[in-house]
Assembly symmetry: C2
Homo-oligomer: 333 residues x 2
């Protein structure tokens, strides 16, 4: 392991997982510091979920949102995919000297508006200012608390379970990369940044025992989440290439930049692993929500290539989706 921090340590891939495992969890505890998106915590009363996320995205404004919308929705979604109902979030700012006050206000307006729509309250905060050249305009940490007030049980993942996503893949990552690379043809492409708690509540409310796993595929994308699920397990995750919802604009940017949409960040998507028999009805419920109109079954849990995630191509080939080692899309969130 490299003795200095490199970009790949923030990749959501192997280098980052190694560091979390060897450097962080080795100290803070493997049982306690959970690899899920949030910690589930007993408090004496109802159990709560607790999560934290720092946002360092560049640029801070982009089609479909800004660092503020991202900061609220990212944390709301981390709580929602744990099966909890998000209630409260914090807002801790690192501001670089020289940041335009108008930019800060615009970002805070986004946060407030997203929080209202998601139904969460911003209840505590902190502000630090650092000299020019010691940050990049603004970094935001949001931590969040959710409650488990509905019973959602989470049975074991078994071969045959279906993999569902609530819409198109890679929109956020490719919108940011197009913007950074001034790809003008990508007009219309925008981040999918959205809060998913209401959509997820609609699914778990109707099918409290069908969903075995949920996760928002942000940094590292769908491929990284699937790798995490199957690693060391006696089963694999198979995606059907022709079932993957990918916008044409995303395909275009991916092909120019040589990026696989399955590794591109999403900020308004959740992956669901569900019982096979409930997959179709769950997709129908998803399609009734604004965030799930393009929901689809995109694959299943399989026995072929245990421990691996892979794509079955339209012509019947197999393409393994390796765990990323290096940072592919730095500062995407």
């Amino acid at each position: 392991m490299s003795k200095k921090i490199v970009a790949g340590h923030g990749s959501g891939g192997k280098l980052m997982n190694d560091m979390i495992e060897k450097v962080i969890r080795a100290r803070f505890g493997r049982d306690i510091l959970q690899l899920d998106d949030a910690a589930v915590l007993p408090t004496g009363g109802a159990d709560i979920a607790f999560t934290t996320d720092t946002f360092t995205i560049t640029p801070i404004f982009f089609p479909g949102g800004d660092i503020g919308t991202l900061a609220v929705n990212g944390t709301v979604n981390d709580l929602a995919v744990m099966g909890s109902r998000p209630l409260y979030i914090s807002c801790a700012l690192i501001l670089e000297e020289g940041l335009e006050l108008g930019d800060l206000e615009r970002i805070l307006d986004s946060m407030k508006s997203e929080a209202d729509r998601a139904g969460v309250k911003i209840v505590t905060g902190d502000t630090k200012v650092v000299p020019a050249g010691k940050a990049d305009r603004i970094f935001i940490n949001t931590s969040g608390i959710g409650v488990f007030d509905a019973k959602v049980s989470r049975g074991d993942i078994v071969p045959g379970d279906k993999i569902i996503v609530n819409g198109t893949i890679g929109d956020h990552g490719m919108a940011i990369m197009a913007l950074r690379n001034n790809l003008s043809f990508s007009r219309g492409l925008q981040s999918d940044c959205a809060h998913l708690n209401h959509m997820i509540g609609a699914v778990t409310g109707r099918f409290p025992e069908s969903v075995k796993f949920m996760r928002d595929p942000t940094r590292g994308g769908v491929a990284s989440v699937l790798n995490e699920i199957v690693q060391g397990k006696p089963f694999s995750a198979r995606l059907f290439e022709d079932a993957l919802p990918v916008r044409d604009e995303v395909k275009g940017v991916c092909s120019i930049l040589g990026i696989d949409a399955l590794y591109a960040a999403n900020e308004g998507k959740a992956l669901f692993i569900v019982r096979a028999e409930d997959a179709e009805p769950i997709v129908r419920i998803l399609k009734e929500t604004p965030e799930g109109k393009e929901a689809a079954i995109i694959g299943d849990i399989n026995k072929e290539f245990p421990g691996r995630a892979y794509v079955e191509t339209t012509i019947g080939g197999r393409r393994i989706l390796p765990l990323l080692t290096e940072e592919q899309l730095p500062r995407i969130c």
Copy 2:
């Protein structure tokens, strides 16, 4: 108000308060976004306290601790001064490319060790890496959750109440400033960085109805906290100069750098406003704890100069302690 972010926006003084009021609370809500150190949150079961703090201190290692000890103790103390019992904290890292892995490990070791001693668990985390020149080695956000499992009532502050501090003032701020300014004569001077939850629990356990207010005087120091308490109120906060516990080394550094110890940051101190009749017994209890050996009554709530904090000097003069406008000691925490 300036249209660009300047260092003073992080000062803990007037410029920062203005920004929090006009830019942040104006959006997120004056009732909801509390000015206390943590939000008190109903969850259906026991009420919880929720707080967040980002640490951007430079240098990251200093006599008496490092950015990791600071990050754990700062958040533990914010929860403790609210009267809650700290249970869980998060750890969100922003790492600058090129940071020595050994430095990161040393900081994480500090966090683990402090968390263990404080009796809190680090339960969730996040890691972001930014390019060299876009951060300053490492920034840490810790958010925390505490529970209100003991009844502590908080009566109104009235003239006659006593002001107590658990030990010497300004140690953290002056240790950092001495280090930054290479003041070699300051050997022996070190940060007071410590977790105060056990000490505070000893006081509130024995005197559940005597403590009217607690706060850890970090950025902006004792003077800033007292200003916050009395602002707009029909009473003042009076400190007795000869009662203020200040180390000789701190006095020395303060005098060379032209800094008032009352505005210097503390990281192991709490101010208590208590019922007059219980002040002496509370000091006795504080003195029985490791963090309170030098506890003292340092002043009282008074009627002279309503809305102001001031020092009564040894020769009987009065020195008003204004609310800071500018950043005096940048990046002290």
